[in-house]
């Protein structure tokens, strides 16, 4: 293996961390330099990531590529084992792309109270944590990266958030920590029950597939591990931190939170919980499906009641992640492909929605739907147009990225995995609930468009000299908009990558 193959992922993942340190050392009055460095480091990391994606062998099916497995902490037999496969590649690359676009956006928009240096350093630290989660193949390493995102996000919300920021920040921290400590105990239990003892995800998968873990053990440990993932996703009823965190966070905090961090939870299910503990997955699947169905309907209803535009988008995330979880709960090839598709699509679309809301707020200094009062398309035709387009993508219009994840998840619920055959009626009920959810989703998004984008500009805004979409905004948005269309028209672009490893997983559930 060449040095490039061994070190590429590590380099890309750690570049932002290096950037964070460099930025921390720059004098704080060199504001432009700091922003430039932010773009430079996220850009460099993205270039490496994309080069890796180009070099990736798409025909290989399952199996890890660009793997590096070396000693790290022999005393507890934790290893530095990183690699990438079709499931993690899309999410990993998305992390770098979104982070880079956020850094570009920061060139023009630094939320109050400024402090650009700390803002970018924390964002870069966050990026390393998120990217690392998707490549770690050692449970301890996974956990370190998983927790690495907590502190930067806490400060991003707590310093640069809006009015209720401190409450939202600590709530986010406490909820996520609560889930993840149980996850850690679950990881330790897996370690001690496997033989030979190992934290290696690949080895544990082999051990789990071979029926190494007893059913009782799997039920308990799946519960512990799933709790950690479920809080992060977030699944109903663990979602209450999310509307607060999303609403209070600064724009790029929301973008990264929705775009990537939530996916860490669903990714955890696909990467760790399902393959290592298949019996547990089978037993919990109906429950997960039920919570997902509730989340879809509940979130849609909650959205109908929101007065704050950003909070509305936040709740819509809960619903979209419900579709992702529904796909996972079916334990089918199509369902899990749907889930990964849903993750990526949601990352692009909801990230974009938060950008739009951020820019609306930047002009109007309010996010209340009633105060905005409509006429966005008239007042700011480009911004209004982009916002309308993305909202329509989010409600699942065929031909755009949001469609495939939802429809495939619903399809998969019609025929769940053979191991769940006795739950067929239940899953069909989930499908119907999900179907109702899509109608409600379309309803609240259209209603939102009607109230915000359509209509005439209210008197109070008529004279305000708001700038329409700025160059910086175009630069950070166009890649996302293009991807939304591209994935909508050519879903094979993504499913072609994910299907190989997903199919390898399916052997466990008789699919």
């Amino acid at each position: 293996m060449s040095t490039w193959e061994r070190s590429a992922i590590t380099v890309a993942t750690l570049l932002p961390l290096v950037g964070a340190v460099v930025i921390a050392l720059v004098p704080r009055d060199r504001d432009r330099l700091v922003r430039g460095l932010g773009i430079l480091f996220t850009g460099a990391a993205m270039v490496v990531a994309i080069a890796l994606a180009v070099d990736f062998d798409y025909g290989a099916g399952g199996g890890l590529q660009f793997e590096l497995d070396t000693r790290w902490i022999p005393a507890i037999s934790a290893r530095y084992h990183v690699g990438i496969d079709g499931i993690s590649l899309p999410l990993w690359v998305l992390t770098f792309v979104l982070s880079f676009l956020c850094a570009v956006y920061t060139w023009r928009f630094v939320p109050s109270p400024g402090k650009t240096k700390a803002f970018l350093a924390l964002t870069l630290l966050l990026e390393t944590g998120m990217a690392g989660t998707f490549i770690a193949f050692d449970l301890v390493l996974f956990f370190i990266f998983w927790e690495l995102v907590l502190v930067p996000m806490y400060f991003l919300i707590g310093i640069w958030g809006s009015a209720n920021r401190e409450y939202a920040a600590i709530k986010f921290f406490l909820y996520t920590l609560f889930g993840s400590v149980f996850m850690l105990l679950g990881f330790l239990a897996m370690y001690f029950k496997s033989s030979p003892h190992t934290f290696d995800i690949v080895q544990l998968q082999a051990y789990g597939a071979g029926g190494g873990f007893t059913r009782t053990f799997q039920l308990i440990v799946f519960g512990a591990v799933a709790l950690g993932f479920a809080v992060k996703v977030p699944m109903w009823p663990f979602h209450t931190w999310l509307p607060d965190a999303h609403t209070e966070a600064p724009t790029i905090g929301s973008v990264l939170l929705a775009g990537i961090m939530l996916k860490m939870g669903t990714y955890g299910f696909v990467r760790i919980a399902l393959p290592i503990l298949p019996e547990g997955a089978k037993a919990y699947a109906p429950w997960i499906g039920a919570l997902a169905a509730i989340a879809i309907v509940y979130a849609a209803l909650a959205c109908l009641a929101q007065k704050d535009l950003k909070r509305l988008i936040a709740f819509s995330s809960v619903g979209h992640m419900g579709f992702v979880m529904l796909g996972i709960a079916t334990l089918t090839e199509i369902g899990i492909n749907a889930a990964i598709f849903g993750m990526v699509a949601h990352g692009l679309i909801t990230g974009m929605l938060f950008f739009c809301v951020g820019s609306v707020y930047d002009r109007y200094h309010t996010r209340m739907i009633a105060e905005l009062g409509g006429g966005l398309m008239q007042k700011l035709p480009y911004l209004g147009g982009v916002f309308t387009f993305v909202a329509i993508a989010s409600l699942g219009l065929p031909g755009l990225a949001g469609f495939w994840g939802e429809v495939m998840a619903l399809l998969s619920a019609y025929r769940p995995a053979p191991v769940l055959a006795d739950q067929l009626t239940l899953f069909r009920a989930f499908m119907i609930a999900g179907g109702i959810g899509t109608i409600l989703t379309a309803g609240y998004f259209l209603w939102m468009i009607q109230r915000v984008n359509m209509g005439t500009v209210p008197e109070r805004w008529r004279e305000s000299p708001f700038p329409d979409v700025l160059a910086v905004e175009w630069v950070s948005w166009v890649p996302l908009l293009v991807s939304i269309v591209a994935l909508g028209l050519f879903p094979r672009l993504l499913i072609g990558i994910t299907d190989g490893p997903v199919r390898a997983l399916m052997g466990l559930f008789g699919g």
Binding site: P74, F173, L185
Partner: protein, 487 residues
Amino acid sequence: MTQAIDYHAILPELILAGTIVLVLLVDAFVERRSWVAMPLGLAGVLAALVATLTLIGADRSTFDGAFRVDDFAVLFKVFFLTVAVVVLAISLRYFRDAKLYQGEYYFLLLTSFLGAVMMPSSRDLLVLFIALELVSAPGFLMAAFRKGSLRSNEAGLKFFLIGVLSTAVMLYGMSLMYGVTGTTNLQQIGIALGRDLAPAEETLALAAILLIMVGFGFKVSAVPFQFWAPDTYEGSPVPVAAFLATASKAAGFAGLLQLMFVAFAAEYAFWAPIFAVLSILTMTIGNFVALQQTQAVRLLAYSSIAQAGYMLLPFALATADAGLNREAFAAATNYLLIYAVMTLGAFAVVTALARESRALPISDFAGLARRAPLMAVAMTVFMVSLAGIPPMGGFWAKFFVFRAAIDRGGIGVALAVIMVLNSVVSIWYYLAIPRAMIFQEPERERPFAAPALVTGVTFLAMVAVLAIGVYPELVAHFPPLSTLVGR
């Protein structure tokens, strides 16, 4: 008593004792520059450190096996001497600024450290007792060192009364233990207890163990013997509080580890459940009371109580299996070492702040991020680390304990669950100081001036916490040192 004394084995103690005498003498002859006691003491501590380093890998025993130098002892000696360097470093400006007697203070401080350094080598109840008292007795005086302050007097008095009480209880237990086993040597006691005792003897032995545990419970401030700690920490000079929270507590744990896992190992079925209860109470009460604190040192005091609860947990995992015991022993040792680093760091920052804020309410940390970015970042690292969030060193301290607990299974799992819930609660108050430093605006705008020594120590502690966090192998090498257990 025919054996010759092994002077190399006791060299660190000899150097330290010599330094103590020198400090006291010099102080009598220098009038105006009594601060010279500090560099003098520092030189002595460093010399003792070098002497200890020459003992690495040694296995020496002297005074008929009552004093032993092995890996465990060397590890703790190095640890205590390092703590001594840090405490000395943060003391200098604090005591000069506060215009307190300096010569006497350094004399007392070094005497305490002499006891601490002796502690891990003590393999005999008598030596153990002398070492422990050598740690505690000067502590009573140091706690009351701010003579003009009523709180400091209260601190000293409380500490003294509780300390003497616990000493009496412990000594009584030790005498009972001697009565049952006919020996004061820890290993011999272990062998004697391993044999089948007559029922009456058995009862007496268990009573002795219980009394000794109560005595140590006071020293390590375990609930329900913790109530002196917050008042004493708050009233003492800040560097003394740092000493009490780290060296003094660690000395207690070093003694407790040897007693429980070596001398009383055979009776684990009796004491392990008691430790389970102690540990749960200590961490839970420590954490929940900490939630209400508004004063920095009190917050750290309750934090140190909660942390003692985590450190007591491995004791509750003791079984008949030497492998599991070794793991528990190593977990407690690791926790103690990592805990000390982060706590010392936090106290260093508080010491720096004490120059402009006498009462040290948390609100006085407001805006420190703007006024002293390095201090604020370091304090955030210490607090997040104490809460056990990766990638800080404190995470690994907890990780080793979780690991031992899950490996133990049964009650271990239940204890681990209680401990993780406690960790989640603790994040709330650990973030209180960062919240103030970073989210709030400073009351005064002038830059924050910390003494160079304090800044240096803070920085080093931060680097250490991060280094352990990223590469825990640095401390993970210590588990093999716990060969003490199961031998």
